[in-house]
């Protein structure tokens, strides 16, 4: 049995942990690739990275990036940008701090240790280091935290929520990356870059040879069942985590069903077929579905005010989209969503639901958990 507040904190821990690692990886790549580019190219490169990370709105607030140091500041240390590495590290620490009594001590110490290594957060003892060293340090610390989560934490509900959070964040990033690759007019988001940004280059080479083509890589990142960052693999693990939460947490039924539905669409090749005709819209729609899934998970754990509220969170029988309605794929969907994945059912008009919390999508949109 887990407190709703603890469940929420651990879900966000998972999401921010993943984000800290992903942003570090992407920033490292961008900082290296940008150094030999001219001004406008470098700016376009930076904006592509920001778009890949889903931080366009946050960038708009600070204005265009004119230089590499600005890009680094925005993605690494800007505490006003909830998607920066530092914001993510702070959020991981603060969320873990609020559940300190129920997590392994080593987990807290590792997260606290990572936080303490940023001198501008008001703590001394951080060794000054170059950008590469700092990013490497963050990634290693994130991997250490993930290791403790896997090896040192009981497989209880808390563990499940961290896993669900990480997998949601990861799948949202991968879909965003694929979408950016299609939207990229300059064609720089090539196959190798996609693989590097998802730490999948080596795995791809071993399985498919060392001459990756863009479409092959997109299929790989969507479908590879054994690749930890493929969307299918992430959805499978998220679904497993949600299922492990037990039948008693009925409020999460809807999220379970949605995860299963999205997985099924990938497995059945529906997404791939839709992408053949309109890849950008398909991926945008899939991203929206993932955001909806994140929203459903969150809605399933938000503290119920009373028993009555808990009951109201059951999805009415027959109302949810069954297999017969799950389609929508490839059909001319709703307004402005041509060729999208369609609608996942009539959830949005369900009474008693407060719609998707505004931090359902990328954690960058959530000021709530960031102090």
């Amino acid at each position: 049995m887990i407190l709703a507040r603890h469940a929420e904190a651990l879900l966000w821990t998972g999401r921010y942990l993943e984000r800290a690692e992903t942003t570090s990886r992407c920033l490292n790549y961008a900082a290296n690739s940008i150094t030999h580019l001219r001004g406008d190219e470098a700016r376009a490169e930076g904006e592509l990275m920001v778009r890949t990370l889903g931080l366009q709105d946050e960038l708009e607030a600070v204005g265009p990036l004119e230089s590499q140091p600005q890009l680094v500041a925005f993605l690494l240390s800007d505490t006003d940008n909830p998607g920066s590495v530092v914001s993510a590290v702070v959020a991981v620490r603060e969320n873990l701090r609020s559940v300190r009594d129920r997590i392994p001590i080593e987990l807290w110490e590792e997260a606290n240790g990572l936080y303490l290594r940023f001198p501008f957060l008001g703590h001394a003892n951080a060794a000054p280091a170059g950008l590469h060293e700092v990013l490497l340090m963050v990634r290693r610390a994130c991997l250490a935290i993930a290791g403790i989560l896997n090896e040192g934490m009981r497989r209880d509900e808390g563990h499940a929520f961290v896993v669900v959070g990480r997998m949601l964040e990861r799948s949202i990033f991968t879909v965003g990356l694929l979408e950016a690759s299609h939207s990229d007019a300059r064609g720089v988001m090539d196959a190798t870059r996609m693989l590097r940004l998802t730490s999948s280059l080596q795995a791809y080479h071993r399985q498919h040879g060392n001459a990756p083509d863009a479409d092959g890589v997109r299929r790989y990142l969507l479908h590879a069942p054994d690749l930890p960052r493929s969307v299918l693999s992430c959805l499978g693990r998220a679904e497993e985590g949600l299922t492990g939460l037990g039948a008693n947490s009925a409020a999460l039924d809807r999220a379970r069903r949605k995860a299963a539905l999205l997985r099924a669409r990938l497995e059945l090749g529906e997404v791939e077929e839709a992408m053949a005709s309109d890849p950008v819209a398909t991926l945008q729609d899939f991203a929206a579905q993932l955001a909806g899934l994140a929203s459903d998970v969150h809605a399933g754990i938000v503290p119920p005010l009373a028993m009555a509220t808990v009951q109201a969170q059951y999805v009415r029988p027959g109302h949810a989209s069954g297999p017969g309605r799950a389609g929508g794929l490839g059909h001319a969907g709703g307004p402005g969503r041509a060729g999208g994945l369609g609608h996942a059912g009539g959830y949005e008009d369900e009474p008693g639901r407060a719609g998707g919390p505004d931090h359902a999508g990328v954690p960058g949109h959530s000021g709530k958990k960031v102090p």
Binding site: L3, A4, R5, R97, S98, N112, S249, A306, M307
Partner: protein, 487 residues
């Protein structure tokens, strides 16, 4: 004074005070013989290395406390001095008996006030007006059933040693005394940094506190419920003692909740979990009475649980410590505690109070204010050392102002003889110097009473200073209660 190889203790001069490690001739007291020898083997560099080891350990674990008086409430690393405090087994036994006795009498008084006939008041042991005018007296607590009449389940009684080395009670803390987590963490840090120090001593362990507290709280379940659902209630992560709250929940293996995690329905308290509402039996609360229930107390508080008082009245849940213990934390009641011991237990107090003048008594007030420059004035409703005036350290205008304040509000002040707190060697830069200290032992009462071995030793960091509170720059020491010697 003692000569040691490294010179750490050379020039050690504790004359004028009772030093716990050295007698007035400068000879090492028996119990400290091995410790002093061991420290004599260290040089200043080694001490610095060990201090850094301990500080890094505390920083890594986030063992901090918050100082509110500083801007934005700064998180500080917990300060611990490496030279431990030792208490011999026989000495501890006597002290523990005295502490149990005191807490037993105070529990009798609270039970009498809130669930009995208020006999001590009726019999004039404590003036009725004094109790009724106490800010800590809570009329809402009258009639709320308390299992085993144990109103105070966790007490922290501050004791000091006077110029003759005798223990005296300085202050009673029966609301939410904090510090136990630092006791346990100090020991853990000492064991990591200075394990070699322990070799020559049989020291009673400290890690069992979670079990002791849990069994105490289990015995407080309403209706003797078997395997009750216990939670620790914290104001949240921004509270100065949050680290301790998380420590307590973790060491007991129970949930750490905030007010918003709890809900009252049908006079029962529940936690909000992802599987719905789960009934709570015992709440170990670490928030003050005023914040417990916004319906009954401060309506602007968001820390508590609306309706909690109703659930308490219905007897479906126990809140530990009980509501209304603040009346005995009122320093105005403190001078009467020895008499309460005689009244309820028919015994002489094992540990005396510090000599105290009650400012509401005109004769005592006249005498005390006449020599305020030698005494200590304390506001009755404060804790943490706030508002205390130490006569010998005060300027004439400060003394005048204090006299005027006391004359205007005599009920709100007590004045005490200045106790020259005992000292122990403590690290000051590159050597050991005497520093004043006190001790906060913890006494647990449920179905039975247990005194946790040792307690929190707080130490003043500046030479001659008597202020040991961590909020005001004090430090701490690991406290070793030695096991009885085997024959």
């Amino acid at each position: 004074m003692p000569e040691t190889g490294s010179g750490l203790l050379d020039r050690y001069d504790a004359s004028g005070w009772y030093d716990e490690a050295f007698d007035s001739d400068g000879a090492v007291r028996g119990v400290y013989r091995r410790i002093v020898e061991r420290f004599g083997e260290l040089d200043a560099d080694e001490i610095k290395r060990l201090e850094k080891l301990v500080a890094d350990e505390f920083r890594r674990q986030g063992i901090t406390f918050t100082v509110y008086s500083e801007e934005e409430g700064t998180e500080r690393i917990w300060p611990m001095d490496l030279f431990p405090r030792l208490i011999a087994a026989a000495e501890w036994d006597e002290l523990a008996r005295g502490l149990s006795q005191r807490v037993a009498a105070l529990n009798c008084f609270l039970a009498d006030l809130y669930n009995g006939g208020a006999a001590a008041v009726a019999d004039g042991v404590v003036p009725r007006w004094l109790v009724m005018s106490s800010q800590g007296f809570e009329r809402n607590a009258r009639g709320i059933a308390v299992p085993h009449s144990a109103h105070c389940n966790v007490a922290g009684i501050d004791v000091v040693r006077d110029a003759d080395g005798r223990y005296r009670v300085l202050e009673d803390n029966l609301r939410s005394p904090s510090g136990i987590s630092y006791v346990v963490e100090n020991r853990a840090a000492m064991a990591k940094a200075c394990s070699w120090l322990f070799y020559d001593h049989a020291v009673q362990p400290t890690e069992q506190y979670g079990q002791m507290l849990r069994s105490t709280l289990e015995s407080m379940a309403p209706g003797g419920e078997h395997d009750p659902h216990i939670v620790v209630l914290t104001p949240g992560i921004f509270n100065s003692a949050y680290f301790e709250h998380a420590f307590l929940a973790r060491s007991m293996g129970v949930e750490l909740v905030e007010g918003r995690d709890l809900v009252v329905d049908g006079h029962r308290v529940y936690t909000r979990t992802i599987e719905g509402l789960v009934k709570v039996d015992v709440i170990y609360r670490r928030i003050d009475d005023d914040f417990l229930d916004p319906v009954a107390f401060r309506p602007d508080s968001t820390l508590g649980v609306p309706g909690l008082l109703g659930a308490l009245r219905a007897g479906t849940v126990t809140v530990c410590n009980a509501l209304g213990n603040g009346v005995v934390d009122d320093k105005g009641v403190y001078p009467y505690v020895p008499e309460l011991i005689r009244y309820y237990l028919g015994a002489e107090p094992i540990i005396d109070n510090v000599a105290t003048y009650m400012m509401w008594d005109p004769d005592q007030r006249r005498e005390a204010l006449g020599r305020l420059d030698e005494l200590v004035a304390k506001p009755v409703g404060e804790s943490g050392g706030y508002g205390v005036l130490i006569g010998p350290h005060a300027t004439e205008p400060e003394l005048d102002e204090a006299r005027a304040t006391i004359e205007a509000e005599p009920r709100n002040w007590i004045v005490q003889e200045l106790v020259q707190l005992s000292t122990l060697p403590s690290i000051a830069d590159d050597r050991l110097e005497p520093r004043h200290l006190d001790l906060r032992p913890f006494i647990l009462t449920g179905e039975r009473t247990q005194v946790f071995p040792g307690g929190l030793t707080r130490v003043a960091m500046r030479r001659g200073s008597l202020i040991v509170n961590s909020s005001q720059g004090g430090g701490s020491k690991d406290t070793w209660v030695l096991a009885p010697e085997t024959p």
